[in-house]
Symmetry: C2
Subunit: 213 residues, 2 copies
């Protein structure tokens, strides 16, 4: 009974590819239709608007990231371990959903105001997953003391950059990329073993209003 792909899914799939390579604003509804060998107006039997398609893509991609990474963030393992696995999972989502992930990362600003706000909220929450793991690692003396907010953003920027240059037919496997990135960040955070500063431990300080300085 399993049908291969509903028309709506085909539209989103084709739109993802076009939005990624030309950008949302530079892709017309007729471009999408042409890729499916139908007429521009015929799309509206399946979708309410062009922005609607973007929203579906973006919001589904947001789901994927959270679904994969959130469970890892809640594990009871070391911060080092969780951060490594979170990085790996993030890279996996990017490389396995290259088009939708790219659209999510780059084109969400073309959504209407409310939808944009909804995504911003989810991105903040997602970023907070990384920030908290870093905070915890620092508090436990597992990580070098750093500003968790900046560090989290730096890590995510680097990981998200993969979406721009990764090619399925390239020489690098997704796994090896993930390992390299994860290793890089773990080394950046790993506490210098020469001075085993075991901070107050256990207690994680509540984040104050302003992030730094």
């Amino acid at each position: 009974m399993q049908m291969v792909e509903t028309r709506r899914q085909q539209i989103e799939s084709v739109a993802s590819a076009l939005f990624r390579e030309r950008g949302y604003a530079a892709t017309s509804v007729r471009d999408i239709a042409k890729a499916l060998d139908i007429q521009g107006g015929s799309l509206y039997a399946h979708v309410a608007s062009k922005e609607d398609v973007l929203w579906s893509i973006v919001s589904r991609a947001a789901d994927r990231f959270r679904e994969r990474v959130h469970p890892i963030a809640e594990r009871q393992t070391s911060a080092t371990d969780r951060l490594r696995e979170m990085c790996r999972a993030h890279v996996e989502v990017v490389t396995q959903n290259l088009e939708t992930a790219s659209v999510f990362l780059d084109e969400w600003r073309f959504l209407g105001t409310e939808r944009q706000a909804a995504i911003a909220e989810r991105r903040d929450a997602y970023e907070a997953l990384f920030r908290r793991v870093i905070e915890e690692g620092v508090a436990r003396g597992e990580f070098t003391p750093t500003d968790p907010k900046i560090t989290a953003i730096a890590i995510l920027s680097a990981l998200n950059g993969i979406a721009t240059w990764y090619r399925l037919d390239g020489p690098l496997s997704a796994d090896s990329i993930a390992d390299q990135y994860a290793g890089l960040f773990i080394r950046a955070l790993a506490c210098d073993p020469s001075k085993p500063t075991v901070r107050p431990s256990q207690s994680i300080p509540k984040p104050r209003g302003r992030p730094i300085r």
Copy 2:
């Protein structure tokens, strides 16, 4: 004699701001004109085309990055030192030219094919500056062995990400951001001091065809 700002410069300045916040494709020539309180067609007394404006912005921004970072890459100091300073300089260019840098990073794909290729070439050369410093640091045993290409891309992705979120009126000074980022990457690359592997030294291996694996 110094005139404040030629009309052409005003156009590019206003266009940078609009391209950054709405994207090139979603910004009309009339939008740019309206910001200058003139009529859409009047712009063509100063510029040849919309793409021409983009090209000016993008290519000038590319210049700025190279001008600031290339001299540092050629210093005779340690790889650690050079990488740190290169990161700092890059952040400086981003934060001091927020709008043009953002446009350079995000909107260059809307250039025509040849101009796009020209920018791609310059970006590759710029990326190579970072890659070579990393290669050298690894070869000298100054850095942990890592794939220089991936590492360079990771660093630049993180640094470029700053262009998306940095605000002049935000709580973080550009300098402190630069230090944090630079510190992060240096720690990620610094060789574990417990095993002072002084590799063959001096000789830097020629990069082979395929990057890794």
